[in-house]
Assembly symmetry: C2
C-alpha cells in the first residue's frame, strides 16, 4: 500500500527538507506541496526543486493533502495548526516532527477540528546544520521514529504513518507522549543543554582566551561545539515546552556530577575508574545497535 | 637538522604507538626502541613491527637514546622515570605526552638525575580508542603540541623537541605548566568529566531503560558516549593530578548550568536563545582554525 498520495510539509528547514528529499527518493509517486514562513526559504526550495508546489500560505499547501506534516519549532506548532485548520480536507492525517510530544499533542488537539486524525511523530535524527540546503534524503535511514498517538487515536491513521516512516527508511516505535518526553530529555535534551552550557562557560573565562579554547579543542571540547551549533530557536522551544522532564533529569545529572566533584576533591581514584570503565559499555551498545559508527573519532578524516 | 637519531618510547598505547608510526613515516632514519609494561602489548608491538627494538625493561630501552618519551598515564610517570634514571645516557633529553603538565614536570624533576634535559610535552590529539592497534601515523597532523619546559630549561633541548614535533606534523606552542593545566582543564578535562558523568546518569535512571537510551541516542547523547569510552586509567590519573584546575572550571560550569536551569524553570526564552546563538560562533572558529571538520555530523556516513 502507498500510505499517502498527497503530502504537505510545513517548514522547510533541515528536517522538512530532508523529509521531502526522502519522499522524492523513496516514494517518488507522492505529490509534494510545501510551505515555509520565510519567503527566502520558499525561493530556495524552488531553486533546489524540493517539491511539486511551494505555496505562499500554509493553508494553500494543505487543501488537497491526505497527510500534513508540521516541521516547525515546537512552540510554533499551535499557530501553524490554527492557520491550516479551516483548509484541512476531511480524512486528512496531521503529523509533525517536533522533539517534544506532550505539548505538541495538546496544541494540535486544541487547534485542529474534530475529525482530523492527529498522529504526532518524532524522527530521532538530525545534524547541527539548519535550513533547506542542509537536508538530505538518507537522514532517517536506520534511525528511530517515535509515534505518540492520543489514547483515542484512529488506528488506521497510525498504521499509515508507521508505513510512511518505514518506507522512508526509519524504524518506528509507539509510546505515550509523557514517556517520549522523559526518554528524549535524557538522550537529546540534556546533552544539548550541557553542550550549550559548557561552550558558554569556556567562552567566558577570563584566564583562558577564546583563541586558546579553539586551538586546543581537539582534546574533547570540539565534540560539544558541534551540538552547541544547533538551531537556537528550535532548542529554546524544546526546553520551554519540556520543562518538567528536563529539570528532572538535570537534577539527577547535577547530583551525579557533584559526586564526581567530591571524588576528585578527596582523591578517590577507585570511584573515578569504576565509573569510567562502566561508561564504555554504553558506547559499545550504541555502536552494536547501529546508532553510531564504530570508527575512531566518528570516522573524522585525519 | 635531524633533531634526534635514537628515540626511546615507553608506553605503547594509542599515543605511544601513534608516535612510533609517525616517526617511521616522517623521520625514517631514526632508530626506535620501545618498552611497554604489559608483555602482551610488547608482543603485539613486535607483530605490528612498530619499532626496531622492543625491550623487556624500561631501562634497556633508554641506554643509548638521545630522546626518551614517556607515553604512560600521568600517575605512572614518577615510577617509570625512577626505573630509567640510572640508565639514561648523558646529554639525553626526556619528554612525555601526558595530559597534565604541572605534576609531570615536578615528578620528572624529582626522579631524574641532574644533567638530563627535561622538556615536558602534550600533543593535544587522540581518539576514544586505546592500545597499540589503535594508533596511526597522522594522529598529530595539524594538531597542537604544547611544551612546558621548566624555567631553567636547556634552550637547545627545547629547540630540538620543537623541531621533532614539527617534523611529525604538529604545531608547537610553549607555555607554563600552570597555564597549560588550566587551558586543558577547559578544553579537555571538563568535557571528559561531563561526558563520563552524563553517560553514568543516563545508565542509572529507573524510568528509562538502557535499551531506550541506546536506541534514541542519535538525538545527541551518542556524541558524549564516544568521549566516555576513553581509557579509564589515563583519565582517572588526569583528574587526580589536575585537581585544582578541574575543580575550578567545574565550579564555573555548575554556576552557568544552574543559571540555565533557572531560565528554563522561569520560562526565560530570551536568555536561552541568546546563549544558544552565541555558542554557534565558537564552532565556526574551530572549523575555520582547522581543528574540526565542517562536515555535518562530523562527516559521519549516512
Amino acid at each position: 500500500m502507498l500510505p499517502f498520495a498527497r503530502v504537505a510539509v510545513i517548514g522547510m528547514g533541515l528536517i522538512g527538507s530532508s523529509l521531502t528529499r526522502a519522499i522524492r527518493a523513496k516514494l517518488p509517486t507522492v505529490h509534494l506541496t510545501v510551505h515555509d514562513a520565510d519567503a527566502a526559504v520558499r525561493e530556495r526550495v524552488v531553486d533546489l526543486d524540493l517539491a511539486d508546489d511551494v505555496t505562499d500560505t500554509p493553508g494553500a499547501a494543505v487543501i488537497d493533502a491526505d497527510l500534513v506534516i508540521l516541521a516547525v519549532p515546537v512552540l510554533a506548532m499551535m499557530k501553524v495548526a490554527a492557520a491550516i485548520a479551516a483548509d484541512l480536507p476531511a480524512g486528512c492525517v496531521v503529523s509533525d516532527t517536533g522533539s517534544v510530544k506532550g505539548s505538541v499533542l495538546a496544541d494540535l488537539s486544541e487547534a485542529l477540528p474534530e475529525g482530523i486524525a492527529i498522529v504526532p511523530a518524532h524522527p530521532v535524527a538530525g545534524t547541527e546544520q539548519s535550513g533547506p540546503d542542509a537536508g538530505f534524503a538518507t537522514l532517517f535511514d536506520a534511525r528511530w521514529c517515535i509515534l505518540t498517538p492520543p489514547v483515542d487515536a484512529d488506528a488506521f491513521a497510525v498504521a499509515r504513518i508507521t508505513e510512511f516512516w518505514t518506507r522512508l527508511g526509519a524504524r518506528v516505535e509507539v509510546m505515550t507522549p509523557e514517556h517520549h518526553d522523559l526518554v528524549l530529555a535524557v538522550t537529546s535534551h540534556l546533552p544539548h543543554l550541557i553542550a550549550y552550557s559548557i561552550v558558554g562557560t569556556a567562552s567566558d573565562l577570563e584566564s583562558v582566551t577564546r583563541s586558546e579554547v579553539i586551538k586546543y579543542s581537539a582534546g574533547g571540547f570540539r565534540d560539544f561545539t558541534r551540538i552547541a551549533a544547533s538551531d537556537p530557536v528550535m532548542w529554546r522551544d524544546v526546553f520551554l515546552s519540556n520543562k518538567d522532564a528536563v529539570l528532572n533529569v538535570l537534577q539527577r545529572f547535577s547530583e551525579d556530577l557533584t559526586a564526581l566533584q567530591r571524588a576528585i576533591r578527596w582523591g578517590d581514584g577507585d570511584y573515578l575508574e569504576a565509573l569510567f570503565s562502566r561508561t564504555r559499555a554504553v558506547r559499545r551498545g550504541i555502536v552494536d545497535e547501529g546508532q553510531d559508527t564504530g570508527d575512531a573519532d566518528f570516522g573524522r578524516r585525519h
